[in-house]
Amino acid sequence: MRKHKNTIQVVAFTVVILACPFFLDAYWIDVINNIGLYAVLALSLNFIVGYTGLFHMGHAAFFAVGAYATGILNTSYDIPIVLLLPVSGLAAALFAYLVARPIIHLRGDYLLIVTIAIVEIVRIALVNDIFGLTGGSNGIFGISRPDFYFFDIRTPHQFFYYIWAFLALSVLLFYNLEKSRYVRALNYIKNDEVAAEGSGVNVDHLKLTAFVLGAFWAGMVGNIYASKMTLISPASFSFWESVILFVIVILGGSGSIRGVILGAFLIIGLPEIFRQFAGARMLVFGGAMVAMMVFRPQGFLPPLPRKYPVHKIQPGEKTL
C-alpha cells in the first residue's frame, strides 16, 4: 500500500515539474533551474551529512573546484563543456580526497571547524588569483554553453531539461545506492562508529568515499553551473553557500532523497515567491529554523525505513 502511495507521489511530482516549461516564463524557469542545481548539490552533500552523519559545512569548496576546473579548461584550452562534466567531477573528487584524508578521523565539532576552514581557504585562494589561473575576484568569464550534437543549450527553458534530466539521473543512481550495502554502512557509521567498525565496516575508508563521492557530484554541478552562468567568481562559493546546502539537507530530511529535494524548494524557492518581504527574509528564515529544530528535528521528510524482499527468500536458500 505504501509503495503504491510513493509511486503516486513520484509520478505526480514528475508531472508537475515537466509541466513547468509550458506555463512559466523565463524568470520562473530560471528559479526552477536554480532549485534543481541546489537539489543535486544538496543530494551530494547528503552522502556526507545525511547518510554518514558527518558535520561538513564546506561543500561549496568542492562545488567551486568543479566550476573553476570547467572555467579554466574551457576558456584556456577550448575543451567542450560537456566533456568537462566528468573531468570537473574528478577534479573535485581528487581535491576532496586530498583535503579529507588527513581529517577523516576527526569527530563532530572538530570536523565541522576544519571543513569551514577549507571552504574559506578555497575562496581566499580564488580571490588571490592562485597560480594566475582563477582571475581573482573578477573570476572567469566567457565560459561556453553546453553543446550537444543535436541540441544546443542556451535559454532557461533549454537548461531546464538539461538540469532536471541530470537531477533525475542522479536521483535514480542514489536511490539504487540507498538500497545497497554502501549507504547501509554509512548509516551504521552514523549510528555508532565503534559498533560499525566492530561489525567489520572499514569506517575511515567509507567516510572518505562519502566525501569523494559527494565531491564528485558537487564538481559536476559546478560544471553545469559554470556553463549556465558563463561567468564564475569567488563570491558564488562562499561559506554562506555551504550553510545553505547544509540547511537544505537538515531541514528537508537528513538522509532522505525526497526530503532534500523538498528542502531545496523551500530554501531556494520560497524566498523568490515572497520577494516583496525581502527585508524580513532572514527573520523568517531564522524563526523557521528554530521552530523546525524544536518541533521536527528529523526534518520535514525523514528517510523511510528500507524495505527488504523478505518474503521472497526461500527457506534453505543459499546464504553468504
Binding site: 578521523h105 543512481l173 542514489f174 539504487n176 545506492l177 538500497k179 545497497s180 550495502r181 554502501y182 547501509r184 554502512a185 548509516n187 551504521y188 549510528n191 555508532d192 562508529e193 565503534v194 559498533a195 560499525a196 567498525e197 566492530g198 561489525s199 567489520g200 565496516v201 572499514n202 569506517v203 568515499t209 563521492l213 525505513p305 528500507r306 527488504y308 524482499p309 523478505v310 521472497k312 527468500i313 536458500e317 543459499k318 546464504t319 553468504l320
Partner: protein
C-alpha cells in the same frame, strides 16, 4: 588445534597496568570463559584482541595470522566477531539491518555496481538478506525484524548483538557479559544458544559474572586478577583453586568494570 593464542600480552594506561603479561590459548571448538573481579582487565583483553586497543607488549596469533597492528574491521574479516559489554546497536535502524551489518565484510559490491544494480550486486544482496534472516531465526528474533533496535527489550538487544556478530561468519565469537541484565529464563535460553553455537563449529570466548552460567558451559576457564592471569583450568579445578577462591569467588558484588573504553572511544 589452537585457534587463538595470546602471548605475554601487556597493556598500560598511564601508570595503570591494566593487562600484565597475560598468556593463554583458546582451542578450536571450545567454550572458554574469562573471569575475574571487577577491574581485573578482562574487557581490556577483549579490546586488545579485537584491535580496539593496541598492546604495549606481547602478541596475539589467530588462525595463523598475527593480529598485532591490524585494524578492527580487518580482524573481523579474519573471523573474530564480538559483542559489547555496554550494548552497542544501531539504535535507529531495524533489527534486520542491524544483523545485515555483520554481512558487510563478506560482501564485495562497490559503489558503481550498486548504483547500476548489476546482477552480481542483486544476488549478493539477496544472499546477505538470507543470511541475516537465518541468524535472526537462530537467536529467535525473527518476529521482531521490522522494529527499530532501540525498541527491543534489554535481553533481546543482547541477542541481536550476537546475531549481528554471527552474520559476519566468524570462527570465534567473543561475548562480553552476554547475560548482563538478563533474567533467569533469558539466561537459560542464552546457555542453550551458546551450546548451539558450539554445535555449529564456533569457538566461544566469553566474559561473564554469572558463575552459574560460567560453570555450566565453559570447558576451560581463565582467571584474571589485577591484570594478571592467576589460574587456568576446568570448572572443577577453578572452584578448588585457593587463589581464585581468595581473589574472587568469595566476594559477591555487582560489576561496573572497565568504563575506560566507553569514555575514551576509539580515536
Amino acid at each position: 588445534m589452537t585457534l587463538l593464542s595470546i602471548k605475554n600480552l601487556t597493556k598500560r594506561f598511564g601508570g595503570l597496568l591494566a593487562v600484565d603479561d597475560v598468556s593463554f590459548d583458546v582451542e578450536q571448538g571450545r567454550i572458554v570463559g574469562l573471569i575475574g573481579p571487577n577491574g581485573a582487565g578482562k574487557t581490556t583483553v577483549f579490546n586488545l584482541i579485537t584491535g580496539n586497543y593496541i598492546p604495549d607488549e606481547g602478541r596475539i596469533m589467530f588462525d595463523g595470522h598475527s593480529l598485532t597492528g591490524l585494524k578492527t574491521h580487518k580482524i573481523v574479516a579474519l573471523g573474530i566477531a564480538r559483542t559489547f559489554q555496554t550494548i552497542r546497536l544501531f539504535k535507529n535502524l531495524t533489527v534486520l539491518e542491524n544483523v545485515m551489518a555483520g554481512c558487510h565484510c563478506r560482501m564485495n559490491s562497490g559503489i558503481l555496481s550498486s548504483m547500476l544494480r548489476i546482477p552480481f550486486q542483486r544476488r549478493e544482496e539477496r544472499m546477505a538478506l538470507a543470511r541475516a534472516l537465518k541468524e535472526l531465526e537462530f537467536v529467535g528474533l525473527k518476529q521482531h525484524m521490522d522494529i527499530n533496535a532501540m525498541n527491543l527489550s534489554y535481553g533481546n538487544q543482547r541477542l541481536l548483538e550476537i546475531a549481528r556478530a554471527l552474520a559476519s561468519n566468524p570462527k570465534i565469537i567473543i561475548l562480553d557479559e552476554p547475560a548482563g541484565g538478563m533474567n533467569d529464563y533469558e539466561t537459560t535460553q542464552l546457555v542453550l544458544l551458546i551450546e548451539k553455537m558450539q554445535k555449529r563449529g564456533l569457538t566461544v570466548l566469553l566474559i561473564e559474572h554469572d558463575m552459574n552460567l560460567v560453570m555450566r558451559i565453559c570447558e576451560d576457564i581463565i582467571v584474571l586478577e589485577h591484570g594478571a592471569r592467576i589460574a587456568q583450568g576446568t570448572p572443577a579445578e577453578i572452584t578448588q583453586d585457593q587463589r581464585v577462591i581468595e581473589a574472587y569467588l568469595g566476594i559477591e558484588e555487582e560489576d561496573e568494570e572497565d568504563e575506560a573504553f566507553e569514555a575514551e572511544g576509539r580515536d
